[in-house]
Amino acid sequence: MSYFIDRRPNARNKSAVNRQRFLKRYRAHIKRAVEESVNRRSITDMERGEKVSIPSRDISEPSFQHGPGGRRTIVSPGNKQFAEGDRLRRPSGGAGGGGSGEGQASNQGEGVDEFVFTLSREEFLDFVFDGLALPHLERKQLRVLEETRPVRAGISKEGVPARINIVRSMREAQARRIGMRAPLKRALREAQEALAAEERQDPVLRNPARIDELKSEIARLEKRIAAIPFLDTYDLRYNHLTHQPMPSNQAVMFCVMDVSGSMTQAHKDIGKRFFLLLYLFLERNYEKVELVFVRHHTVAKEVDEEEFFYSRETGGTIVSSALTLVDRIIEARYSPEQWNLYVAQASDGDNWDDDSATCLKLLDESLMAKLQYFTYVEITPHAHQALWDAYATIKTAYPERFAMEQIVQAEDIYPVFRELFRQRAES
């Protein structure tokens, strides 16, 4: 006796609990792997989720086993040239082994020594952003309610052709057709029966006038039935949309970077990582994130991403030129009413002597009021200069919305980034 059961509609992910338990248990390992990959790899790669490998010995489930050594007899298939009593050299090394033991090799990590699995993109980013919160997102969301979004709100009799609800329209049409035909059909049937009854009579008793009358009646009814339209204008139904206000869920991120002669490519690479991390972070919190790249030496210029990171410039540095440009772009394109505005600035700390005071004024009087957050990283192993001091003043004035850090080398980025966006206790 056998029976079939279709289990496909049943819940999937029966293992979800176990999977989460595993991730939780090896949280520390996974986090370390994630952090390494954030530091080491190009950040655009991380969008795809992440392959994580953990040393097998750390997660092995131990049991009593035989170790190497002693005397063993092994039976194998596929003998080709051996004869009884042959002696062979013991193959050196364990399974695989191979030449390299380099970092690259462990990346590929498919050996026996690594347990490799893939975190989904969501899981990966959760690990990256573990413990981080977007500053003051709530407030902005509540305040800005100007955008609307169309929401379905039932069916209406009026609308534009693009929104015709075909199923409902056809259903209406069918109901109408049935309704309109019914009395006609009944009359037709009666007429046909009367005609048949008349024709069944003896030829002598037939009333030719009656027959003609019935025939013309039948013809008239059939014509009327045929004339009922398949679809009429008042059958049409439309999907109705209303506009529902929704919180603004879009952000602009201004990447501002000093490209003067003192900034080397290494500096820029570090800056790039910082921008990309911030971008990734914003992207997770907003539906739409736009990027604006502003580079500057003595004058500022809005450029595309490629040019931003890779073209070379020389010359002095006037930071306020960039800040002025950002301000102007905000005025022109990104109303603070509709956009959440973020500025991320990377520099080596150089600035024209008396320009720092201008920056201070500009930020304090104009920019800070519009921004959600301003982050500044200074990529230099040297002592701070005037710009840092000016920014420090701003930081004291806007401790909630301004952050600045110093970075010396690439490995510092991630900790700095965490520092900038550390989940702030409600104050």
Binding site: F4, S15, Q65, P68, G69, S76, F82, R87, F117
Partner: protein, 525 residues
């Protein structure tokens, strides 16, 4: 073709092409059932479930248990299955079958019609009849109760997690899992398990167990039976006769988990119950670990035979048959030892070759077969096959039925790896001098006792420092692997007091291990 019967009149194929639907599957199932009756395949009722590939991965991760308690190791299993599947390293096994009554078999929806029919033949009639017929399964598992028991186990573990915290339960399960291969009574038939009775008895047992343990550990011990004189300390060293009470336990105990469940001094009742659950499940899987070759060989033999009959009877067409042969060939392929694809002996290949060869010996014996297998050469093949399936496990099956022809076909050879010898030696190959030795060596290779170190509870020092001593009977100087220490650590967690392990070979203590590691040094030889 596998049949000697004259083919019946050819019928119309039930279906062609690769698409399946429930109606065709049912009709094929009936056709196979009819043939299976002819071959006297006695099975549990089949519950055939159609599932998606994701669900198959889930099923896989829970080691084929339809319901299981939660544990991270199953999550790990899931992740590695998923990884292998995504990378295409592994097709999902297209079938999974559970030893239960009714016998649950999973078919993946992605399978082609041929695959579904093949899986029905393989799992629902091959494996199923093996589960029902083989003596190990009959003795050790209770197919009708397992699903209920799993439900009970899952509920109980979940309850414990609620009451005592996920972490506490997880650690306990980790420790039990490390010992689960030693949670089996190898010689005594276990009592059948049933969820109802289990739940009803569970509370009584809690109370009862605790009193047992209390008696054992009471400070005024009863005198145990005195030991044989040779095992006692000299009266010179023990003039007051303090050690004349003998060892506890008086006999070495092979079932470590059982011993812990009944004797570990500090375990709470719920902890004992969880030890018991892991032990019961280990017991359930115990026959499967010992009948891999036979089980797969039997199922493969029957899918091959049944598919051929379906074809001979005209119920499947050439297209399906060709697809089947291609799939079957890859299932039973055996890469050579020096091939990059070599991963040990393929149990499907060996088992299929052996069962097919038994059939051949019965139907067309050669002189060699008459000499090697006087009893079965020329006998009724179906009787002989059923006899082999019912009464053996891998070890004895190979010992009994591995024929010179199979050794020749697979070109088996045996190799001695001795750490006192700087080269490896070929001990035997597929020739007249080698057949018996290869058969012997292969049989040992499949003996559970040779695959897993022989470790037993030797003594619990109930009157002294409460330490637990295990004995490892070392064979042919094969030492324990490094995983030993983590296992001892788990054992220590369960026992609660120091744990010692001695490796004994030929009566001499070769090595001692201890956990926690004493300050002075890791171990002394």
């Amino acid at each position: 073709m596998a049949t000697e019967e004259t083919p019946m009149t050819r019928r119309k194929p039930i279906a062609t092409g690769s698409d399946w639907n429930f109606e065709t599957l049912e009709r094929y199932e009936q056709a196979i059932a009819e043939l299976a009756r002819e071959y006297r395949l006695d099975t549990y009722p089949n519950q055939i479930e159609i599932i998606t590939s994701e669900q198959m991965m889930d099923a896989y991760a829970s080691v084929g248990m339809p319901v299981g308690y939660h544990h991270w190791s199953f999550g790990k299993q899931f992740l590695s299955v998923e990884q292998a599947y995504r990378r295409g390293q592994m097709g999902l096994a297209y079938e999974l079958v559970i030893n239960s009554d009714p016998c649950i078999a999973y078919l993946m929806e992605e399978n082609s019609l041929m695959m579904q029919v093949l899986v029905i033949a393989h799992a629902c009639y091959g494996h199923n009849s093996f589960f029902k017929g083989n003596y190990l399964f009959q003795t050790w598992t209770d197919a009708s109760a397992i699903v209920d028991y799993l439900v009970f186990a899952r509920k109980y573990v979940a309850q414990c997690e609620e009451r005592h915290g996920v972490e506490a339960v997880e650690q306990l399960l980790d420790a039990c899992h490390a010992l689960q291969n030693y949670g089996v009574d190898r010689y005594k038939r276990p009592s059948p398990i049933s969820a109802e009775a289990e739940a009803r008895r569970q509370e009584e047992r809690e109370a009862y167990l605790q009193t047992q343990v209390n008696t054992l550990w009471s400070t005024i011990p009863e005198r145990a039976a005195p030991l044989a004189d040779s095992l006692l300390l000299d009266s010179e060293n023990d003039p007051l006769g303090l050690h004349r009470h003998g060892r506890y336990p008086s006999e070495p105990q092979e079932n470590l988990l059982y011993f812990l469940e009944k004797n570990a001094p500090l375990l709470e009742p719920w902890q004992r119950e969880i030890v018991r659950i892991v032990r019961k499940l280990a017991q359930y899987f115990y026959p499967q670990r010992q009948t891999q070759v036979m089980n797969e060989g039997w199922a493969t033999f029957w899918h091959y035979t049944l598919m051929n009959r379906l074809y001979d009877d005209g119920l499947i067409d050439e297209g399906i048959m060709l697809e089947f042969l291609q799939s079957h060939t890859s299932v039973v392929s055996q890469p050579d030892y020096d091939s990059p694809y070599f991963g040990g002996i393929n149990p499907y290949a060996l088992g299929f070759a052996m069962f097919s060869d038994i059939q051949r010996i019965c139907q067309a014996p050669t002189d060699e077969d008459r000499e090697w297998f006087p009893e079965i050469a020329g006998s009724d093949w179906l009787d002989t096959l059923h006899f082999a399936m019912h009464n053996f496990k891998d070890e004895s099956f190979i010992q009994q039925f591995l024929s010179p022809k199979v050794i020749r076909d697979l070109k088996l050879f045996s190799l001695v790896d001795d750490d006192r010898d700087d080269s490896l030696q070929i001990e035997a190959i597929h020739d007249d001098r080698g057949y018996r030795r290869i058969r012997e060596a292969l049989s040992v290779q499949y003996a559970l006792s040779a695959r897993e170190p022989n470790i037993q509870v030797w003594e619990a020092d109930i009157r002294g420092d409460r330490s637990l001593t295990l004995r490892h009977v070392q064979d042919r100087r094969r030492p324990l692997g490094q995983s030993l220490f983590p296992v001892l650590r788990h054992l220590h967690q369960l026992w609660g007091f120091p744990v010692k392990l001695e490796s004994i070979e030929n009566g001499d203590t070769v090595r001692r291990y201890q956990w926690p590691i004493p300050e002075a040094g890791r171990e002394s030889a």
